[in-house]
Symmetry: C2
Subunit: 493 residues, 2 copies
């Protein structure tokens, strides 16, 4: 597609600059038009017999000149030059001002790859026949046409009423509360943000934290402070110190099996966090998306249940306990807040899809959800055990990792000087994926940390995958130590 | 539930103030707790033998004192007083700063009511069996578990590829464009706003305009200017004058069967609007949600097709041509823009439900969508004809209304001094609903205007409903004229 450049290795002009000039010419002459994709760096390097870093450097230069834009996992596209038949908009300038940032690196995993990168359930465990039966019940129902018709921002009303009733019986929903359905917990976070946060508001979150929360709140101009998560979840003493120093608008916490650490806040911790947040007059947002995935130990009440004021906001979802592809979550909170969130929902997308909501209602009412829940609790427990055992066995000495009682994630801290971002390419090459700690950092990056999402992988592959990671990490650690020993001591000056 | 007040009709204190004091006492003493609902005004008025306006006045006073909050269609709730076991948050203050505003008045229509209030298809025309067959095909497919699994922000990939192919063949999607799936057109508008608009940006919209666009953009701090819609859609001459006066970031237009007017922009108008927007360097956002609902006349190319620069953004949806409850729309635009919108989508809700996307794909691929489309075109044409005929026959002399060639809406302008907001209560009382013009106004309210959404009502009920409206409007017009004639001329001073 792209004409081959004439590059002169003898020239004083570095090769990457020559390559950059070549592309600049193609873009300015219109041979490469806006929106066209540049060859991947690896492919072009192979084609031209160049080092891949040379090609990357050329692309970086082109990007700094506004001629191309790199999109994570999608390649580099021409954004500058003549737009074609007429002079068009400068999309770089228009989009530059946006605060939206990309979140996850793409990894095109092969069929036999082992991915610990995504915190999601295992699709082999999906009770597809049970789901089909529930959906067929919905489609055979006398009110089915109304499921297909325009609905209400609060959600499909029969499902909403079911969740209200369940939450009341559980003692979570008070008479002063209301409940609405959202497109997963992610949308609940977005809607809370929309009605509660102003740009510049200070918000407390966990450190490390779920990247989808961090990026969403940063996009809205919030000023985030991370409170470290310890074995017993968010550290109350550090929370107290933070609250003594500044005025915070809100605190977001995942007290059960936190993403990414898997940590759970103790009962005493919950009481402290509630008291501190309450005294500080901050809005408490409790994300309980993993709460129903307890494989061992005793359940603890939600912060919302323990909260004497009734002001807490509680987020839940069907995504982790059943089918994330259906995107059905819900949120409970004071009536005035939920009323405003419904208005924000109407502006966002009118309402969520109703076929999935109606089907999940039948899936729950028929007892199929309960059966599936029991099944995934058993499978999840086995997977958790396999992951912990493999970490103990295969990860290099000096590694620390969490030992959660539920959820989908383990948090691993490798010994220094290992850097999980640098090692990820090697892991992908060996067919294993994970998310490096940098995606979860708020104020304190931990280059040696990584998240292992174990719930989507069966025990045999968990062991195999962690074994491969252990070999990569151990080899690199030995190499680093050896090279450090070889390095001559610097002269004292 | 609420203790009956002792009201003294002989007192110098007006009854509504007495009633307000009574409730203030109940709230401050904790007899009425935060989040509790006050009796509906009508019910309380009946109970106490008071005029309903007295009760409304008392509630307004309570609301102005921050003790209760009225939510349209949901009643009034206690928001002040003692929060219960501890001093809680001041939700009024927290939510006050939000820009989200409520959109539509709720009307609990009875089963035999005739509602022209919502621009949506008729559920009696839904091909439920065809839908069921498509969904069953999806559920029987070998990849069904992946439909239930976590997906991608761009949409369910097979549907996305289908829409890309269709749009390419139609000549709408260019090589420099990309396409993503959204939760209906409303979310496409929200995502465009998120990545393109900054608070304070000036945006051109139609006048009158779709309220979901107006409220969304106002919430994001945009400064809206309405360009009047005439018989041939947005007026290019007025657009030119506006663009000469100020710098606008974007223009949003629905060139086909605009909501609420039903107006369509002529080919010459499209050329002018494109040229003007292009010369002004503004982003052109084309909402084509009604484009496939042409009942008569010749189709016109989209602005995106006519645009020499390729910068236009085009929004489409399955909502009006099939099932709005599934919330599946899509948006096309320059690759860099769509890439950023996918990132914004991930922050909004990760992705849209996949069951509906997969089912709609099968619905389209099987030819069932085409058959349904032919059916609704025929039914829509009949409904449009019935609506126009009834407007001609029953609405009072001096009424003007649009005569669209497609879509779902007619725009009616009643003779002065009729006020459609004031008359709505009477229409509801007679079992007929519509949306008063005030919801659609940007800069120029037209109190005598209203939107008649005819597509969801069968021809017999269209005639019946418009006849009832005609009687209400004519009676009121006669009354107003008579009372004007009776009024003595004021003395000249």
């Amino acid at each position: 597609m792209v004409p081959k450049p004439h590059l002169d290795p003898q020239s004083e002009v570095p090769l990457y600059q020559q390559l950059c000039r070549h592309f600049t010419g193609l873009i300015q002459s219109g041979s490469l038009r806006r929106g066209e994709r540049l060859p991947p760096t690896r492919e072009l390097a192979g084609l031209l017999g160049l080092n891949r870093t040379t090609v990357s450097a050329a692309y970086e230069l082109l990007e700094s000149e506004g001629l191309i834009t790199g999109q994570v996992g999608r390649g580099s596209f021409v954004t500058g030059g003549d737009p074609g038949d007429g002079a068009g908009l400068n999309w770089n300038a228009i989009l530059e001002a946006s605060h939206v940032t990309s979140i996850q690196p793409a990894w095109k995993a092969g069929a036999d790859a082992i991915s610990f990168a995504v915190s999601r359930p295992s699709e082999e465990l999906f009770p597809v026949d049970d789901f089909r039966a529930s959906c067929e019940e919905v489609m055979a129902g006398p009110d089915f046409a109304s499921v297909l018709q325009l609905g209400s921002p609060g959600g499909y009303e029969p499902l909403r009423q079911y969740l209200i009733e369940e939450s009341r019986q559980e003692g979570v929903l008070r008479p002063s509360d209301d409940l609405m359905i959202t497109t997963g917990c992610q949308q609940a976070l977005d809607l809370v943000r929309r009605v509660v946060l102003q740009p510049g508001d200070k918000v407390l979150v966990e450190e490390p934290v779920y990247p989808g929360l961090k990026n969403l709140f940063l996009e809205s101009g919030a000023d985030l402070t991370g409170i470290p998560v310890q074995t017993n979840g968010m550290d109350a003493a550090q929370l107290e110190r933070a609250l003594a120093k500044a005025r915070y608008k809100a605190l977001v916490i995942t007290p059960n099996f936190q993403n990414p650490t898997g940590a759970t806040v103790s009962r005493a911790g919950r009481e402290s966090i509630l008291r501190l947040t309450h005294n500080a007059g901050a809005v408490l947002i409790e994300n309980d998306i993993y709460g129903e995935l307890r494989y061992e130990g005793e359940s603890l009440p939600t912060l919302k249940q323990m909260d004497p004021t009734g002001d807490s906001i509680l987020l839940r979802s069907f995504s982790k306990i059943s089918f994330p592809g259906l995107r059905v979550g819900w949120v409970m909170g004071p009536r005035a807040l939920i009323g405003r969130m419904m208005e924000a929902k109407q502006l966002s997308d009118l309402h969520s899809d109703q076929l999935s909501q109606a089907t999940l209602l039948h899936f729950a009412l028929s007892g199929r959800l309960r059966a599936h829940h029991a099944h995934i609790l058993q499978a999840g427990g086995e997977r958790l055990k396999a992951a912990v055992a493999a970490c103990e066995r295969y990860l290099p000495g000096g590694t620390r990792f969490t030992r959660p009682q539920g959820g989908m994630n383990l948090w691993v801290r490798l010994p220094e000087p290992l850097d999980t971002s640098e090692l990820l390419g090697r892991a992908h090459h060996e067919g294993v994926g994970y998310l490096p700690g940098k995606y979860f950092a708020v104020n304190r990056p931990e280059p040696g940390s990584l998240r292992l999402s174990f719930a989507g992988v069966d025990p045999v592959r968990i062991e195999k995958g962690i074994k491969i990671l252990g070999e990569i990490f151990s080899t690199e650690l030995e190499r680093q130590i050896a090279s450090r020993e070889r390095e001559p001591a610097p002269a004292m000056v």
